[in-house]
Amino acid sequence: MRESKHLKTPLGLSVGREWLASGLAICALGLLAGFIAVPILSLIVWTVNEEAWGAMASPVAREALSLSMRTTAATMVILVVVGTPAAYVLARGTFRGSRALNTLVELPIVLPPSAAGIALLLAFSRLGLVGEYLNAFGITLSFTTVAVVMAEVFIAAPFYLRQAATGFAEVDRTIEEAALVDGADRTAVFLRVTVPLAFPALVAGAVTAWARALGEFGATIIFAGNLRGITQTIPLAIYSEFQSNIDAAVALSVLVLGFAFAVILSVRYLSRRAVEYRH
């Protein structure tokens, strides 16, 4: 439709306008790309000039890196095991309150992480709404690694749930029903048909959620506290080191930058493989 409309306009004017428009659009892209590239470059320039590479291997960096890896791994296991079936119910279930539930589950995306941290604190700290009862059983959560994982799950869960639910919603129901008719039980259909078909969306959701968990700062520092090796993840270490040792803060930032790169590249590769596999 649009194509034919374009052809009807006087050729010269249309071509000229299109040139101008695409020129400006390319400028816009260049501006934004530069805006993102310059700060990233500055991190590397500083590291090279100040010879801050050594700080990457400092005990603070290694402990923070190891803690971030362990907590985000735990977060991802929880999200995949609990989040996948939950997302399926959200995508397929039309029950009373399902819309309210959808809104509730997406709330942490919009909530500032620091507000999430206060909320977690008031719920699970020693004098908190739930924490008080946990404390009676001898369970304290604040200042523990478990609290870090809780903060990460709270913040990252909606990102996985939302993309996984969208993926499930796009799976053609007739394929599932055909498999059911063929005699497969519901669990088998879910695992063998639905999950493979929604797989790219699940991977995309998992990666976004993981990235969000890795970058989690506000909720973690407020709810879990800040102690090396126990609750000081990479973002907290960057913040803490900034006050005393800028070299270390920069080196840690470069380290995470490297990670981000590796993740984006491997996701590109994996999703291409997944798409090839489906065809």
């Binding site: 649009r2 374009h6 306008r17 299109e18 101008l20 428009a21 695409s22 400006l24 659009a25 400028c27 816009a28 604190l121 700290s125 020693r126 004098l127 604040s142 200042f143 790219p200 969306a201 991977v203 995309a204 990666v207 976004t208 520092i221 506290g225 800040n226 102690l227 090396r228 126990i230 609750t231 913040y239 803490s240 900034f242 006050q243 005393s244 800028i246 984006i264 996701v267 590109r268 999703s271 291409r272 798409v275």
Partner: protein, 290 residues
């Protein structure tokens, strides 16, 4: 990510004309914005020349000064009609890092000499810093005192949840100094045992006090001035023996790159004046002269 790209492939031409409109708008607005801020800067400059009508004074101050400086800010705004006092409060070490990175500010008030000395050494301070007030380190515990702490010596008991301010924050530096002295009193290994009880290092002294206010931590080091009226129903204070305690000295100075050097000087004058000292005393600080 990549996976979403398939769905998002839109005909470029459909996007271009709205994109063009948006772009032109952005450019026009950006132009307005920059010229606007330029003229704003010009106004500020001329205001300064014309007998200091208005202007914004930006103060970087140790977080323990939160309440006292808020009250002094109101007095300052009354004394200098049209001026606005903006305070950025945090750990002195963090504020120093911000100044070193070129944060625009007029006055720096530190909770320790060390940070001010670094600022002087880096040539960031105008004139000589003045000690304007003193403060005393104390112990704070939650009202119900779950770890049953009666004095500093109890800090080494197993399973005490102790919170400290972050590394290099003056309140934490002072605390470590106190623990070092206590080592001689309570036996070697005391400091080490206490440090193994630390469960979190907070951004600044007020953040670590808040951990006790919320009842999550069993104890923390704070300043006498942090025991503000609004937390008195939640927190108990335990004094540190006089031979072990540390008196914190607070220096203040105008900054070299101050946009409002006149106002900066007036602020330092107010803080060191009789009236200013009275306000500081009200918030549990001790006069610099003692």
């Amino acid at each position: 990510m990549t996976l979403l790209r398939g769905k998002a492939s839109v005909d470029l031409r459909n996007v271009c004309s709205p994109a063009l409109v948006v772009l032109v708008l952005v450019i026009v607005l950006a132009g307005c914005g920059s010229s606007g801020s330029n003229s704003g800067g010009g106004n500020g400059g001329s205001g300064e020349g014309g007998g200091q009508q208005g202007g914004t004074l930006t103060i970087l101050a140790a977080s323990s000064l939160t309440d006292a400086f808020a009250e002094l800010g109101k007095i300052f705004e009354q004394q200098n009609p049209g001026t606005t006092v903006k305070s950025s409060l945090g750990a002195s070490s963090e504020l120093l890092a911000q100044i070193q990175q070129g944060a625009p500010a007029d006055v720096f008030a530190s909770a320790a000499q060390e940070e001010m000395n670094s600022a002087v050494k880096d040539g960031l301070v105008a004139g000589k810093p003045e000690i304007f007030v003193k403060n005393r380190e104390i112990i704070m515990v939650p009202k119900n005192n779950p770890a049953n702490i009666k004095g500093l010596e109890d800090f080494s008991k197993p399973n005490v949840k102790l919170v400290l301010a972050a590394k290099d924050v003056p309140a934490a530096d002072y605390a470590l100094e106190i623990l070092g002295k206590a080592n001689k009193e309570y036996g070697a290994g005391f400091k080490q045992e206490v440090l193994s009880n630390v469960v979190s290092r907070e951004a600044d002294v007020r953040a670590s006090v808040n951990r006790v206010v919320l009842g999550d931590a069993d104890a923390t080091f704070g300043y006498k001035s942090d025991y503000t009226p609004d937390i008195r129903d939640k927190v108990n204070v335990i004094t540190i023996p006089p031979n072990l305690t540390i008196i914190a000295t607070y220096p203040i100075a105008a900054l070299k790159d101050a946009k409002e050097p006149g106002l900066a000087k007036k602020w330092v004058d107010l803080v060191t004046s009789k009236e200013g000292q009275k306000v500081l005393k009200k918030w549990n600080f001790e006069p610099a002269a003692d």
